[in-house]
């Protein structure tokens, strides 16, 4: 599956922009992506707008008035933290089915408060589904099963900030020590404040097109969409996967949704995990960076925290993970964060990542995970 080309990417730096309208934030990313693709909005035949937290009807149509009205279909897409992956899959299907040749995909969000409360009304009244606790219970179980410690999770945050510091699109650009992370207050034991991503504002955009259009617009460094997979919960679901569930079967052991999406993506791309040379995983908090690396088959279960200690996931290591600093540094505007990962992989594959550039990667992977068992894996190839 290499008939779909990622022609251009653009990002508005993630951060806090209280005075700035979401449309203006999105337009910066869109303009950058169109320019990167040597295209104008007139070349686009379909647009997808991802948002999770903004409640503006037909937000995509409103935003695109700012780049000219051409009469194309525009859809708003919502898939929690996996929104970017969902849109890319839809764009790919539109192109590979032959229904159109060029799609503009963009995500935009503005943060609306620290925690998301994501259960049924009675659960929310009891404070049982504030998102940090669901992620922290996975972290606790990871410690129990594999012997990882809070210090290992702190080490993930330290690595993230080592590279996030070098990323002009990141919100937090300072380094931390392990001690500083461990001294930051607990949010949900065993995870500290500096282990978590912070909700913030931002936008990212990607132009996806057919090979024919890529040639027409002289895309000099084409990157191909080798796989794009979205998956939802299978039965049985794992007990701990963050979701609104309060009752889950234990009669059979469930397969995490990221495992399912990853396996399907490798198959689609005709490669294995060993062929991946740079990765952006969903690091909602430090523990899930490790969990997702393992769920993607990039190492054995329980091995990731050892490899982290050895430097394997550094930008100079065998398998650089989250050279962007991840959302631990960029912050998370959920409608845009998945495409933010794709921007980073594109820049890495094209050698445009500046001081955080990894060594000549040809194949990269982006992985998202959303509340209620939504997993997405995208594989890009030079």
């Amino acid at each position: 599956m290499e008939d779909v080309v990622l022609a251009g990417v653009g990002m508005h730096p993630f951060g806090r922009y209280r005075e700035k309208d979401p449309a203006d934030i999105a337009l910066e990313a869109i303009t950058m992506a169109l320019k990167d693709a040597n295209m104008t909005f007139k070349d686009i035949q379909l647009a997808l707008c991802g948002t999770v937290l903004l409640n503006r009807p037909q937000l995509g149509a409103e935003i695109l008035q700012g780049v000219g009205q051409t009469g194309i279909p525009i859809y708003d897409i919502r898939a929690a933290c996996a929104t970017g992956g969902a849109m890319l899959r839809l764009a790919r299907d539109a192109i590979s089915s032959g229904s159109c040749d060029a799609v503009l995909v963009f995500g935009i969000d503005k943060h609306q408060g620290m925690f998301q409360d994501l259960g049924e009304p009675w659960q929310n009244t009891l404070g049982m589904k504030a998102s940090p606790s669901a992620f922290a219970m996975v972290a606790q179980r990871y410690m129990y099963e594999y012997g990882a410690t809070e210090e290992d999770f702190a080490r993930v945050a330290v690595k993230a900030h080592k590279y996030g510091r070098l990323n002009p699109y990141a919100m937090f650009r300072q380094e931390f020590t392990i001690e500083q992370v461990l001294k930051s207050p607990y949010v949900a034991w065993p995870l500290h404040l500096y282990n978590f991503c912070s909700p913030d504002d931002g936008a990212a955009a990607v132009v996806v097109c057919s090979k024919k259009i890529a040639r027409k617009h002289n895309i000099s460094q084409p990157v191909y969409l080798a796989a794009s997979v979205m998956a939802t919960a299978d039965y049985p679901s794992p007990i701990l996967e963050p979701s609104s569930a309060y009752s889950i079967t234990t009669k059979k052991k469930g397969r995490p949704v990221v495992v399912a999406a990853g396996e399907q993506a490798y198959k689609e791309a005709g490669i294995g995990p060993g062929d991946i040379e740079v990765v952006e995983v969903q690091d909602t908090e430090s523990a899930h960076e490790l969990v997702h690396i393992e769920q993607l088959g990039l190492c054995r279960p329980g091995e990731a925290y050892h490899l982290l200690r050895e430097g394997t996931f550094d930008i100079t290591g065998r398998l650089p993970v989250n050279p962007s600093g991840g959302i631990q540094c960029k912050g998370e505007p959920p409608g845009a964060s998945g495409l933010g990962q794709v921007c980073e992989i594109m820049w890495q594959l094209r050698g445009q990542a500046g001081p955080r550039q990894v060594n000549h990667p040809k194949v990269g992977l982006s992985q998202v995970f959303g509340w209620n068992h939504i997993g997405g894996v995208t594989i890009l190839k030079k």
């Binding site: 929310n124 009891l126 504030a130 940090p132 606790q140 949010v187 007990i239 009752s247 889950i248």
Partner: protein, 146 residues
């Protein structure tokens, strides 16, 4: 808990807990079991999520289970949760029950050093608040078995 026993108790959600009719009785969690595929659920329901059968029997779940995983919330959840003043961190965990399911629950314990995976836990009820009728709104928690 309030000293008065005259006030009526009501569950926070219908079909969730069996309230003891007398002080001698033990509370339990209510559930359903699918007669068609055998799936068990916490909180009564009329349709099986897995096989879509409408043939379910009411069951009471075991009062004891094992702690599968846990966390302590150090920040209050957003509204409608009403934190105590001052806020006291609270424990949450998944409890594995012998009926073949795990249930998400508040824990009585908020010290992670006093919790461990696999420990025996037992059900208790607690009062959340009084509703507008003056009834005690009850919910469930699990506590470590001494």
């Amino acid at each position: 808990m309030s000293k008065s026993t005259a006030e009526k108790q009501v569950p926070i959600k219908e079909g969730m807990i069996k309230l003891p009719a007398s002080p001698k009785e033990q509370p339990s969690l209510l559930g359903s079991k699918c007669r068609s595929c055998g799936e068990t659920y916490f909180i009564r329901r009329s349709r099986c999520e897995q096989c879509q059968s409408g043939d379910l029997e009411h069951i009471e779940l075991s009062r004891r289970g094992k702690l599968y995983s846990y966390s302590i919330m150090y920040y209050p959840a957003p509204p409608p949760y009403k934190p105590s003043d001052p806020f006291v961190p609270y424990g949450l965990g998944w409890i594995e029950l012998p009926e073949g399911l795990a249930v998400l629950s508040h824990l009585t314990e908020n010290d992670p050093d006093k919790l461990r995976v696999g420990m025996e836990m037992e059900l208790i009820l607690d009062e959340l608040e009084k509703d507008e009728m003056g009834n005690k709104v009850m919910y469930y928690k699990f506590r470590p078995v001494k």
